[in-house]
Symmetry: C2
Subunit: 336 residues, 2 copies
């Protein structure tokens, strides 16, 4: 069994930390790991499987020693660094939005379109969090009934905006508990005890970047025929995104059959027992690997349609976990 | 100008308090007000326009002195008391769900279907909070473009479940801030920093009562042709419900024209200036009378469609305010 040298680029960031934890227990036979950070952090150590590893600067030479690397260092860094790594012979699984819609770069959720890994040219992109959990739930339904159209409204956790946003929800909540005026710095408005229909910047068509990611990434991952009409909303939850999903299908879906199909699908866990108040919850999904689906019911307003509720940990399946699963799939498929 | 004797049934409840405040500044020329409560609370005083008025028990004799009364005392009480009041010659505007779908009782949002008041037989029903704000936004769009189908996901405040729920969100938030384990008593799961896709009880078809109210009440208020596919979700917000609404229309809606039509519609305020991060917010709608609409944009996944975001104060327009507006309309139309 081959041993692989694996790099973690952006090792000390929030996602980088998750990446190290998940890589350490992955199926990849890791011979050596290398930690990469920006020059200011050179020499700082990152823990990996109990070992403290000093961070290096990602030069072509250092990268050439890696078989593959995960990259979570933002779009600007990725724009320069990912081709440099690929040219040095290190396959990059990139967590930024930089390469996602590039026609030469596969955009992959391993449960959905692992075959797209086969045409990689050194860079593979990890999709956006809100897209990943949705397509994991959509794919089995699409395969069985043919989805034409999706209307989705999201309920997204602040951790999707990084650690400053987590701090902002915490401090605003404390201010309100203590009868003080909350201050908004990360978000344009108070997020505590509020709902903001605004994630990422607005485009001219009135949709946000976050919403357009759901539109375009879903097409690239599942199929061009999938039309998504999204509304992305931030709510005062720390971790796990929820999504209210409405699908219109070609064939008539039977709800019990849909439940069975989803329960048998990789990466999906069905939580749908209304008598016992069991349905997916942000609090319960935290730290878990699965995409949870529940409240599955017929939509009687169209000939063939369904409503359901999808929840997943945005920092795991929505980010680091899917990135590592891409790396695992590439190793399994002999692509590294 | 006639003077009216007005009763407030359930005067000391949370909605009753709002009812008194709003009635006191209403357009109705009130000669006398009478406060009604259950026998245990007889003699307790309720403030009305600065005056303390002792509560009476709602007997047919006492009710016969009223020209009209607002009733917010729950479905069970309303089932007995509303017909009793109507028989005593007191027109009742009822805030419970008891009479909403009764074919002999008008279900009214004054901006939408005031003409239904004309066939009242002594009882008029006030719709559910999540329905009211939605139909105020839908009606002008329906009148101009013809709506076939609505897909809606709600973001509902805990105050919709009463004062115990407000207390539960508060105490769970404090527990979490203080590092203690939050306790769930009012809701089946933790509501603080979570999202519960569960409002009211589940029906056999997999939808909740709250969701079915949106389906059935919308048909009764706006028109049987309106098909609503709803998902109702409770989020950790104290006050004001938000709704992500997708509509499919007969005619092609122009977004700028829709904005103008809505801005000119009674009871609607358009907040839709993306450049300046202006869109409806729960925190900003609190205490206001209008239904706020924003993020109005074309849905490119269907021939004719729109997405938008609707927010209103669930305790005012969603409850007491609409009830008082019904009473005002009845007086204006000479129906009392």
């Amino acid at each position: 069994m081959s041993e692989y040298t694996v790099g973690v680029i952006g090792a000390l960031g929030a996602v980088g930390g998750q990446m190290r934890d998940i890589l350490a227990v992955s199926s990849i036979n890791i011979g050596e790991v290398k930690m990469f950070e920006r020059p200011e952090l050179e020499g700082k150590t990152a823990e990996f499987a109990g070992e403290k590893i000093p961070c290096e600067v990602a030069t072509p030479e250092a990268l050439s020693e890696c078989d593959l690397a995960t990259m979570s260092a933002g779009s600007d860094v990725s724009k320069k660094l990912a081709p440099m790594a690929a040219n040095a012979g290190c396959v990059v699984v990139d967590n930024s939005s930089q390469w996602r819609l590039d026609p030469e770069v596969p955009l992959v959720v391993p449960e959905v379109n692992p075959e797209d890994l086969d045409w990689h040219e050194g860079i593979v992109a990890n999709p956006n969090c809100s897209t990943i959990q949705m397509v994991v739930a959509l794919k089995p339904i699409h395969d069985n009934y043919g989805i034409n159209r999706v209307v989705v409204s999201t309920y997204q956790a602040v951790s999707g905006s990084g650690s400053d946003a987590i701090g902002e929800l915490k401090s605003q909540t404390e201010d309100i508990v203590n009868g003080e005026e909350p201050k908004a710095e990360v978000y344009p408005h108070q997020i505590a005890f509020n709902a903001l229909p605004h994630i990422d910047v607005f485009r001219d068509n009135g949709y946000t970047e976050e919403e357009m990611k759901m539109v375009n990434e879903t097409k690239k991952i599942v199929g061009e025929e999938l039309e998504v009409s999204p509304t992305a909303v931030r709510i005062p939850v720390y971790r796990s995104h929820a999504e209210s999903v409405n699908v219109q299908t070609e064939l008539s879906p039977d709800v019990r059959e849909v439940r069975e199909i989803l329960a048998d699908s990789p990466g999906v866990a069905v939580e749908d027992d209304l008598e016992n108040n069991v349905y997916p919850l942000c609090t319960r999904a935290e730290g878990k690997d699965e995409v949870f689906v529940g409240r599955i019911r017929k939509d009687p307003t169209i000939e063939n349609g369904l409503n359901f509720w999808v929840v997943a940990d945005n920092l795991r399946k929505g980010a680091a976990l899917n990135t590592v699963q891409i790396a695992e799939s590439m190793v399994e498929r002999g692509l590294v």
